[in-house]
Symmetry: C2
Subunit: 330 residues, 2 copies
């Protein structure tokens, strides 16, 4: 059927083990033999069967990226897909394949199968899947969590951006711009990253704090804001948990004729493609998703290669200042 290693061996007049050694370059082979083998490989258009290789060598040459998405929206959230790009790049450099799997329906099972059926050499997991029972089944199998797990923070291996620091950045920037009553808008207060962002906000704030949760939709943020913004002592600035919230805020300000940035300052998390095209453009706490994916993958490969222990990596966020928060002349 397909060309096998022994076809090549025959043509090159050597043993198949020699061909194998040439391919894997891990033994001393005469240059002349190598040449003969290479020529034969070219001639027969030989491609080693990766399944056989993996079976024999015990390495499958793939890593798994588990997502936890109930709908296309969550799956395509740009945070995930951008990191994925970086992960794929690192994997490609290492000659590894990337398998994506949605674990939404059966978390444990998906992960367990990927490991135990030897489909991957390592896993990148979403923080939502982390729990003691999973950690037990995972044992010393190489994995890295992309995000901070809610539990077992110190006993797991993860890479995340520093959400507290992000809020800190946002608050200080707003303070420097002279805003007085800075509130926090949006987010499911049960999600770890929201909790950390809010914590960062509370630590950085001086004076009264105000947190307005939303269900993640623009609509919800908008309607929640309308009453609040009509009060006398309304906040004069918001840190928004995400772009949706910021959009709701923009809409509410438009409706109430509140001027941005003179009467209202806005900083939002996540640099969505359209965030710089709103009116006015949004100041953003930017998460370097490329770096995040890159570091995660790198760490995973370190663990695959050297079986090294748990490690936690925290990446800083950056502030991209745009009009929505810039009321002082530069």
């Amino acid at each position: 059927m397909a060309v096998t290693i022994s076809d090549v061996a025959k043509l090159a007049g050597v043993n198949s083990s020699t061909v194998s050694r040439v391919i894997n370059g891990k033994a001393s082979i005469t240059q002349e033999t190598k040449d003969r083998v290479y020529t034969a490989m070219k001639e027969l258009d030989f491609h080693p069967n990766s399944l056989a290789r993996s079976l024999a060598s015990g390495l499958c040459g793939a890593i798994g990226v588990v997502v936890d998405a109930r709908d296309a929206e969550a799956f395509s959230n740009f945070f995930f897909s951008r990191s994925l790009f970086a992960i794929e790049q690192v994997a490609q450099e290492k000659g590894y394949q990337v398998i994506i799997a949605n674990g939404a329906q059966s978390k444990g099972r998906t992960i367990e199968n990927l490991m135990k059926e030897r489909k991957v050499d390592g896993l990148i997991l979403p923080p939502t899947t982390v729990n003691p029972s999973l950690m037990e089944t995972i044992g010393d199998f190489p994995y890295v969590v992309l995000g901070t797990p809610d539990t077992l923070r110190g006993a797991t291996c993860w890479v995340d951006n520093n959400n507290e620091q992000g809020s800190d950045l946002a608050v200080h920037h707003l303070q420097e711009q002279g805003y007085q009553h800075i509130a926090y808008l949006g987010g499911n207060q049960k999600r770890g990253f929201t909790i950390r962002r809010v914590r960062g906000y509370k630590k950085a704030i001086t004076g009264g704090e105000l947190v307005i949760p939303t269900d993640g939709t623009t609509e919800n943020a908008y309607s929640a804001l309308l009453e609040i913004l009509e009060k006398k002592d309304r906040p004069d600035a918001f840190v928004c948990n995400d772009n949706m919230a910021a959009f709701g805020l923009l809409k509410a300000c438009r409706k109430l004729k509140i001027q941005i940035p003179s009467e209202m300052g806005i900083v939002a998390f996540d640099n969505y493609p359209l965030a710089e095209y709103t009116d006015p453009p949004l100041t953003i706490v930017d998460i370097d998703t490329g770096m995040l994916g890159d570091q995660t993958a790198q760490l995973l490969f370190r663990r695959i290669d050297k079986r090294c222990g748990n490690q936690q990596i925290m990446l800083s966020t950056n502030l991209i200042v745009r009009e929505s928060s810039e009321r002082l002349a530069k």
Copy 2:
């Protein structure tokens, strides 16, 4: 090391081939034997080694999704990532894994390796990779192109949304709303889908046509529009090739104090998450990315299973009417 099929066989007091048959359910086995085998499997926590299975059976249990992305942006474009969600779902139902691979650096190579090294049983390809030489190396290997190839349209297997029909929908809607001078904004006029959208626009339009290409950025659309919109005989409506273009248009209208939708109608392709939150909300030609991914994957599996021939599937788009184009009372 790991639990193998013969460990199970031993414990159940049968031959390993029997265990194999029980697992694959493709031979008559006494209920009693089955029970013994299942019990043994449970007890040992047996997971069949997928590599060995694949090697022996000749099926690898994975499909490959090739992307053609130079940067994270292209990779995370929501069109791709949403379809991916649907593809993964179909694959999961079939017990298949999804491998993603970026072919941007070495198109041919990526695809060829995936096939010839037996990493996947089938491929989903981006239209940009289609060319005669690829088709030759791909032979009768199962694949489906997600999008319409620029060449070999009739000789390949693809699934796409009907871009011409989308433009038609947009133009007719604008005409019904009483807009007279409908122009087309945006897009790289070399990309197949843009060409088709423009073609649909030209066919549907009555009277003078005007196409304003952009480089895909909001900025570019904005600046290109400024001069055009200041003319007397400016268009009173636009079909936008994408959301970026629409944003540029919104910005230009804001700047020139052109009222939407009374003085200007807007319809844009692609239902970005934020499209309904602009001011005013955008009327959209919506591509059902879920359906697209689903159909693509289904077709691929049909080809994997039955080796059926090429097929072309064209899916209709839908119009989501919002304020940006609705100037007649309902």
